[in-house]
Symmetry: C2
């Protein structure tokens, strides 16, 4: 079998599977959690949830409560990891915002990262292909949407724009919306992709949206107004993305909610999981 | 102020407060989390949630999903800690199922525990009295129900029977239903209360129900059929409680659901939080 089942856990009348497998893209063992709803046994729509810095597949599985709504609407959820782990690269564990837990959903071009830190191809190609074969009841090839939080929110937007028509819809929680222009992005892009900023723009949603040609479903974004990464550190900058959308085919179709009182935590994510689940359910035909 | 506010977190349109205060009952600093729903600003009904072995106020706050339903129905939730911490008693940190994180909701009578390990009086008296004064909008004195998980499920049932009429309703997730008769209970009762088993029965729901005289709202219990503490270790024994109920005024009023596929984790709790929230909402007049 391509996947090892490490745990099978009942939740909300569905099942959460904790899987692992050997990846040819990262050359490491990778963990992934998959939630299967009760109900339909074929052509189950899928939501791909990309997590933020430091997270494993477990954080969102335990704290986002997306599964409650997934079971209600009848879609599956895939929770990938955020980086290779144990690649053995010197310094990979030194920072919380770079290396392990922070692969930034790119295909690295720079040494010593390029052999393992290829989370873009891992997530959008290898993982989905393997899961489509492993779970034939999931409609991964034809009916999948994407969301994510912070680094994962950026990853979801980038993945949507770089694969026109692949994802039925995209949403994000407090996404790093303009990574070429903030410290997190500069650190990760600089090390994984090198100093040529043109290579950064190939992953930056605020750049990608301008030249995007493809289907234009609405985009839903929530941002906590009291999120310190937003208010103080300027890591998130959703307004830059909205401004870029206005100059593109997406004018008027990015629905940004800056919500008063909310921070950057899973308490924030869980609070708006219902809105995002409803949003994607519509595009997934549920 | 009697409480220090360590964090104020928005969730599900309500607010989660992480508080701490000095307790005269445990002679330690105690943490407690309180969720306030949006909506009514006075006479807010309350659910007291008692956690299981090893837990702090944060585990259920992060993983139970109760706040979603609390905000929907309009009740507050109080999440106390499970023991004093830092009492400085030799050996208090040696076991996961005794001492710190495992005070078993009793008033200890034995040295060296009796000065600090008084979680029965702490939870049902000091904490509720202090929170009633601190949050006058909460109807703690007149409209409160109680639930809990595992050790906290036992604590909820014991607290209900030992305080007739105090709690409008009681429910439990995988409660330690007959603690005088299982290893967890024998270890904790033996050390906190001494070897006289009569003193144990004063906290054991399976004994308390037999002599209980008071209001008899239905009791809701969920138990995972694949919970190893239930199937293998015989720590939980809800059937003993149901059998005792049949010999009491509670005959026919204990609603035990042994649910196939579920374990002992927060995935199990979150899956049935909705049922328990609905159950208590009815008794709380919501």
């Amino acid at each position: 079998m391509s996947f090892t089942v490490n745990a099978e856990i009942s939740q909300f009348n569905g099942k959460l599977f904790k899987l692992s497998h050997d990846s040819e893209t990262t050359h490491t063992k990778m963990d992934v959690n998959v939630f299967l709803p009760s109900g339909p046994s074929e052509k189950i729509p899928v939501l791909l949830y990309l997590s933020g810095l430091t997270c494993t597949p477990n954080n969102a599985s335990e704290k986002s409560f997306f599964q409650y709504f997934a079971n209600k609407f009848g879609f599956a959820i895939i929770f990938p990891d955020t980086s290779p782990r144990g690649a053995g690269i010197e310094g990979e564990d030194d920072s919380w915002d770079f290396g392990t837990g922070a692969a930034f959903y790119v295909d690295s071009t720079q040494e010593p990262w390029s052999k393992n830190y290829n989370m873009y191809s891992y997530v959008h190609k290898e993982l989905l292909d393997k899961l489509a074969a492993y779970y034939p009841q999931l409609d991964i090839k034809d009916n999948i949407s994407i969301t994510g939080h912070s680094m994962g929110g950026y990853g979801a937007l980038a993945g949507f724009f770089k694969n026109p028509g692949r994802y039925k819809s995209v949403s994000a929680f407090a996404p790093i919306s303009n990574p070429s222009n903030c410290k997190w992005g500069e650190k990760c892009f600089g090390n994984y992709l090198g100093e040529d900023k043109e290579s950064w723009y190939q992953y930056d949603p605020t750049h990608l949206i301008k030249s995007y040609k493809g289907p234009t479903p609405d985009i839903l974004i929530h941002q906590g107004a009291q999120d310190g990464f937003y208010t103080k550190d300027e890591q998130l900058q959703p307004e830059n993305f909205v401004a870029a959308a206005k100059e593109s085919g997406y004018a008027g179709k990015v629905d940004l909610h800056v919500v008063d009182g909310y921070d950057h935590s899973y308490f924030f994510i869980s609070s708006f999981a219902e809105d995002h689940a409803k949003f994607h359910a519509k595009y997934l035909g549920l």
